[in-house]
């Protein structure tokens, strides 16, 4: 098992990468391997370099069982990605649990806040409880849906 440690571990989230995880991880990772705005400019420069090196390292990682730490691009990205990462982990662990299958889940501060059949209800509930805060809502489903915006425009 390989573990890559950065300078300020308290600001970073450790993710465990498993072979069976969805492709989503790769997308998350490419977005997240940057920096947190709380760092000083010199630290940001340093971490940018580390981000580059980590992205390079990613290609060489023995994926199964590897651990990697990462930082975030902006504070909003940090929050939404913290929730999204928590969602991804949750989906991986509960994809086949009938209690959650085909349900929507909402994450706030990296924690599961609620489960429902309807994503709008979840967003409304969080807004009523906490106001306009960062959250991530997603479906626990084996099928991934995609839409089309097909009309060409001048």
């Amino acid at each position: 098992m390989t573990e890559y440690k950065w300078k300020k571990p308290q600001k970073r989230t450790l993710i465990q990468i498993r072979k069976d995880e969805p492709k989503q991880w790769l997308q998350d990772f490419s977005i997240l391997a940057f920096y947190d705005p709380d760092y000083s400019p010199s630290e940001i420069d340093q971490i940018k370099k580390m981000g580059t090196s980590v992205q390079t390292l990613w290609k060489d990682l023995p994926i199964e069982g590897s651990k990697i730490s990462f930082a975030f691009k902006t504070s909003h990205d940090f929050k939404i990605n913290k929730n999204r990462s928590a969602y991804n982990i949750f989906v991986n662990e509960n994809l086949h649990d009938p209690k959650f299958q085909e349900k929507y889940v909402v994450f706030v501060n990296g924690q599961l806040e609620d489960v429902a059949d309807n994503e709008v209800e979840l967003v409304k509930q969080v807004h009523e409880k906490y106001g306009n805060i960062d959250m991530y809502v997603g479906k626990v489903s084996l099928e991934k849906t995609k839409g089309m915006i097909e009309s060409p425009e001048r």
């Binding site: 997308q27 909003h76 939404i80 999204r84 909402v106 309807n118 994503e119 709008v120 967003v123 409304k124 969080v126 807004h127 106001g131 306009n132 805060i133 960062d134 959250m135 991530y136 809502v137 997603g138 991934k144 849906t145 995609k146 839409g147 089309m148 915006i149 097909e150 009309s151 060409p152 425009e153 001048r154």
Partner: protein, 139 residues
Amino acid sequence: MSYEIKYDGFAEFPSFQYVGVQISNAQNEHYIPQKGKIDTGAYMTVIPEYMVKLLNLKSPTIEEAGGFDSDVREHDAYFVNVKIDDLVYPYVKVITQSDKRRQNVLVGRNLLNLWHMKLNGETHKGEFTSFSQNPIDAT
């Protein structure tokens, strides 16, 4: 009650059909007016990116969508209120398009499927009625 659908033959030719829409953060009443282009090719309503900052929208989720050239990618999704005259659709899911040239709104099928719509290309007049204001009913 019926609402007017207009034709714009100046911005584009042949003309396109649109309604006057107002978009707000689902949590307040600060509305931004814009043309809402009727787009049955859009599965979801699209708002221009400049509205995200102006309305202080925070994206709670991601949508994967393809364009007319089938290039599929992730888009930030938001929940907004859409107002057309006195008709308010609360918590409508919308996505943004990264193309900064977009100024108007694309009214997609998550709203259009709530409407009975009549279009007359000869007279350039149209109208719609809405059988529901709940986006969940747009099947």
